[in-house]
Amino acid sequence: MVEKKQLSVSAIENGTVIDHIPAQNLFKVISILGLDKFDNLITFGTNMESHRFGKKAIIKIADKFFEREEINRIALAAPLAKLNIIKNYAVVEKQVVEVPDSITGIVKCVNPKCITNVEAVKTKFQVIDKKNVSLKCHYCEKITDQEHMVYL
């Protein structure tokens, strides 16, 4: 009985479950997706045991389905995340987040002397390391790594 009750609290009728977020990046993902400004019902859990990560986090967002562009945004903070699309309490689709070969917008270039930080120029990067997420600026050619990533 108890177990069933717990399930009914966390299950969502329609929406998206984002799983396999590295626990330390949970709040980064929340901020990238702008979830802190959502009116939807959102539940999240963090520091859950995961044999892949050590500690993982999970977010459930009711009545929200993400565009590919939005999913790409979290690829930088949660490259191995999985999205479960829920309709009528059932998983109807699974989406994996993939780190793309190039990234336009989303993050700032780390170099203060880069043209993208001086004029209204959209940032553009080549992804040179997909595992640790390291970006080479198309304009100034400097490297922005995970640690120095600032989201736009």
């Binding site: 170099n111 002397k113 880069c114 043209i115 001086v118 004029e119 304009y139 100034c140 050619e141």
Partner: protein, 302 residues
């Protein structure tokens, strides 16, 4: 390369580099050619660089072209807050080719994306300065007769030096070996050493300029700048170590030449100037021929 911008040296194929050097050689033999007489070239120098600007303007003049432009941003619309994009779009109406120097990194790439006319990058901050590299290659080929399998000594600030990084990348395509001579604080960054490892090219590192000079085909000197050191004492320790003196060249190879991108401060003593192995002033002259070739090719005149 016709009608294409030149932003970075690594965009040029080996064949394109050789084509530029061959044409520069032709211009050196016959420098007065009135082939650019229907063209207007804009030289937009958002920060002063007298040498580079005069070299480009000399090249245009020798080929009969017209020049418009400015040598610093202070008295232009830029000081009123005009964006780079607007400046480029406006000047593109007045000219067939824009030569641009700008303190902001990536500005040349961006300008080339918005401009309807080709852009030649004459230096974007600490990022790229491809015409400097091409004139270095021209000087090396001219003095050595080849670009293949040479032993290049790079001396001075190898950590921040844009010139030495571009030269390393370009020369590595011709199977060069390198000796890096720098103080501990200013050594060649790992990414370049890894790049040479991948290509299977040899390099050695030393902190003493006096060692192994007899092995060099080219000694490429750069300035060790005071502002690069967090500890002023460290600068005081090394500042006189990286000064090339004439007596140090005694046992060098007959074909060896000393290059420097200029301006020189004190890293090459003036007693080297009289040595026939000093090549930095002819190197600057080569910049004119090389820039003639680059512009003639981009404008489709050759």
């Amino acid at each position: 390369m016709k009608n294409k911008s030149l932003v970075a040296i690594n965009e040029l194929s080996k064949e394109e580099i050789i084509k530029i050097l061959d044409l520069a050689e032709e211009f050196e033999k016959n420098p007065v050619q009135n082939i650019m007489n229907k063209n207007v070239v804009a030289t937009l120098f958002f920060e002063p660089s007298t040498r580079t600007r005069l070299s480009f303007e000399s090249a245009v003049n020798r080929l009969g072209g017209k020049i418009i432009g400015f040598s610093e941003a202070a008295n232009t619309s830029v000081s009123k807050g005009e964006s780079l994009k607007d400046t480029i779009l406006t000047v593109a109406n007045y000219s067939d080719l824009i030569v641009m120097r700008h303190p902001i990194e990536g500005s040349a790439r961006y300008a080339s994306e918005v401009s309807p006319v080709p852009i030649i990058n004459a230096g974007d901050g600490a990022n790229q300065h491809p015409t400097q590299t091409l004139l270095d290659l021209y000087s090396i080929r001219k003095t050595q007769g080849t670009l293949q399998n040479l032993n290049i000594f790079l001396v001075g600030d190898l950590k921040y030096g844009r010139t030495v990084h571009s030269l390393l990348m370009a020369m590595s395509r011709f199977g060069a070996s390198f000796t890096f001579v720098a103080p501990k604080e200013l050594q060649m960054p790992n990414e370049y050493k890894m790049y040479l490892n991948e290509l299977g090219l040899k390099y050695t590192e030393q902190t003493d300029l006096n060692e192994n000079l007899e092995q060099a085909d080219i000694i490429y000197m750069t300035r060790v700048q005071r502002e690069r050191f967090s500890d002023p004492l460290e600068y005081e320790k090394v500042k006189n170590v990286y000064v090339l003196r004439n007596k140090m060249l005694a046992n060098t190879k007959p074909n060896m030449r000393v290059l420097h991108p200029l301006p020189r401060v004190n890293e090459i003593h003036t007693d080297v100037d009289e040595n026939p192995k000093a090549y930095y002033f002819p190197q600057a002259m080569n910049g004119v021929y090389t820039r003639m070739a680059i512009m003639a090719i981009i404008l489709g005149l050759k």
